[in-house]
């Protein structure tokens, strides 16, 4: 494990192994990973792919804040947050979060906190492409 926090945004496919190798720690017994993948249907419509737009420097800052908060709140050792940008196909990975802790309860709580907070605060926008059009998720009433 190189550092306590890794945050990363990439146009290329995310590697679970890379995230895992950065998260595993010989002083810790548990790693909780959340992997968000692209569903083929949403609200009854067929989805063809997503496109993620990112305000990258601010997004990385906000991801770092989430990791710091998770470490402080739950006493975990390590938090990694990796997010895709650009075109992401069905079944592909949009986000990976890894939390490492000495005991396992904390890593579950911190991992869920991280993904919940990411969806509220990190400046990343998802455009969902359906067979008959596309829209920015959550933008309109």
């Amino acid at each position: 494990m190189e550092s306590l926090i890794n945050v990363y945004i990439s146009e290329n496919p995310l590697s679970i192994d890379q995230v895992y190798q950065g998260a595993v720690n010989e002083t810790c017994g548990g790693i909780c990973l959340f992997i968000g993948t692209v569903r083929n249907r949403n609200k009854g419509k067929e989805v063809t792919h997503l496109d993620f737009e990112t305000y990258t420097p601010m997004a990385l800052k906000e991801m770092k804040k989430i990791a710091e908060q998770a470490i402080e709140k739950f006493g975990v050792k390590h938090v990694s947050i990796f997010h895709r940008s650009g075109y992401v196909g069905i079944k592909d990975i949009a986000v990976i979060i890894a939390v490492t802790s000495v005991h396992r309860d904390a890593c579950f709580q911190a991992c869920q906190y991280a993904i919940d907070t990411l969806k509220e605060t990190v400046p990343i926008w998802k455009k969902e492409f359906l067979e008959d059009g596309s829209y920015w998720v959550g933008a309109r009433p």
């Binding site: 420097p57 949009a94 990411l118 009433p141």
Partner: protein, 78 residues
């Protein structure tokens, strides 16, 4: 002149990655008023935050020319 980065639906509304406001100094609240007046469509979305120098800003915060300003429509990462 204040330059405003626009993302997601904001980029579509402004039809550009960048909007401009003729001012050297303006509060976030006044920037919202100006943007909503220039582009009515901003009043029809689920609101937006304003970021100044890559941090979420409150309505009373003052923006100076040269600050990095961005319109942050509802985020939807993950």
């Amino acid at each position: 002149m204040i330059h405003i980065k626009c993302f997601g639906i904001a980029k579509e509304i402004v039809d550009s990655e960048l909007a401009k406001i003729e001012a050297d100094k303006i509060t976030v609240a006044d920037l919202r008023k100006k943007m909503n007046a220039d582009y009515k469509a901003f009043t029809q979305i689920n609101g937006y935050m304003v970021a100044v120098n890559q941090e979420y800003a409150t309505d009373d915060q003052i923006i100076n020319s040269g600050d990095e300003v961005a319109i942050i429509p509802p985020v939807s990462g993950g």
